[in-house]
Subunit: 322 residues, 2 copies
Amino acid sequence: MGIGNAIVDILTHTDEELLAAEGLPKGSMTLIDGARADAIYARMGPGVEVSGGSVANSVAGAASLGSRTAYIGKVHDDEFGRVFAHDIRALGVHFETPLATGGAPTARCFILVTPDAHRTMSTYLGACVELGPEDIDEELIARSAVTYLEGYLWDPPRAREALQVASAAARRAGRRVALSLSDAFCVERHRDEFRAHVDGSVDILFANEMELLALYESPDLATAVAEVQGRCEVALVTRSEHGSMVVTEDDIVDVPAHTVGRVVDTTGAGDLYAAGFLHGFTHGLSHADSAALGARAAAEVISHFGARPEADLSELARATLS
Amino acid sequence: MGIGNAIVDILTHTDEELLAAEGLPKGSMTLIDGARADAIYARMGPGVEVSGGSVANSVAGAASLGSRTAYIGKVHDDEFGRVFAHDIRALGVHFETPLATGGAPTARCFILVTPDAHRTMSTYLGACVELGPEDIDEELIARSAVTYLEGYLWDPPRAREALQVASAAARRAGRRVALSLSDAFCVERHRDEFRAHVDGSVDILFANEMELLALYESPDLATAVAEVQGRCEVALVTRSEHGSMVVTEDDIVDVPAHTVGRVVDTTGAGDLYAAGFLHGFTHGLSHADSAALGARAAAEVISHFGARPEADLSELARATLS
């Protein structure tokens, strides 16, 4: 079960100048309002629209790997909302969150991909601010092995209540809660709440190096890893081409990155890593083998434009799990 | 100046089974109504949305090559319509056709790409049926070296009146009219009108082998070429990997295809061939050199998913024109 901000991505190739002109730090995610969204869209080049949202990408990836999955997130009853709903359901994901009919349109994220394949995101949350506790299907969560939340859910105010309800429902049922820290700027915005949630509710934590440093305001990776170790069942620290670290109470295992021919667009790498890990984890693989599957799923998604898998990942899952 | 059906493409990877189940002949374009569109969308996999439309793709390609371009086509004032308008304007194309505010939503084309890289299209014309003579900017046409029409414009009823007005305006101003036959099924639907337009108004004709055979109900290519020769200033007969034929009153020149590494998706090959040809033609290249530039532009677009160029084609244009 994934819960997140339901977003349609608008991807474009760009140069560094547009990032500088718009004051967007490369690799970050900036929250923007509707007026800023219109302004950025007017300046950017032709786009490609693809369903996105961090945890939604992970759920799509896990479904493609063969997991039984569900998703909760809020879109408006508009064309982008129908595109989002179609794309996730077409993968067999259970998605029944009622569409918003009043208020803002479906959320969109402008993803500016520079020639070095890095992506810089500007997100207009739109209908995501309508997500609330009433959208949480506690019964479905009680039946889900893992409920996976994204840190970005702390941005829209009522979604925080929703994720508390969801986390409590998962724990009451003896199920696991997973959390992605989403991005270092997001950690800066919500550090105290994130720390409290990690300590009180999270079994599986996904963070990249920058996010973990931000969470514990640590001077270096070793200190940050020592800080997180033992706070949850397993923490996965992703380090791009340096692979990932699997941090459990008693052990730290390094898992290498999976090599790819050409990196086209890093959008979705972390999301697909989580997809691979959670698929392996819920299908009986060890933490380290699950992390290796995560690395392979991430390698697929960075080999093309966009954050959803293009290849049918089921072959990959079969090869890994057999 | 391009005039065509303004469409947002929804591309997906598919297998042959879906084509068979939906009764869609591979490689064709089928017109569908709203109910059929909903049914096909419900059956197809996750999609990627990209602005499309045959002549709109050509105009986008020509703009990317460095041509000064304009486009006339009808979208609704909805999210897909705004996406279409953004994408074409972001390339510097003059696009000021008033958005439709009543009636059907923006047109969409479901493009099913099979593992052999062929694409099969189902088009819901939506707001395109609102295009009429009142949308034709005759003054702008009079200032355009070439006015390029697509055969698909014969499908929505009022667009036929629009293209007659546009063709007449171009000819009155001593400008050229170009026409794409669009697809063989489209030729079957409108053969007599196409023949009359070729004889009466067209200077530059784009057709693939099947379309030319359909137009003249010819038993073989040589007969069809003999039929078209001399009817317009130049006919470009595209033959996929066999290259293209440049047919003028006195001459027939074969131009080889441009080799590509891997064919990912043939969507847009004909559209970009026309873009390259028209860019070369309006910048002083010979017919044959223009056709070679068309072949190179086509090679770029079939190397990736979607019908709009991903690479900046201006380098290609500079290399060819210098």
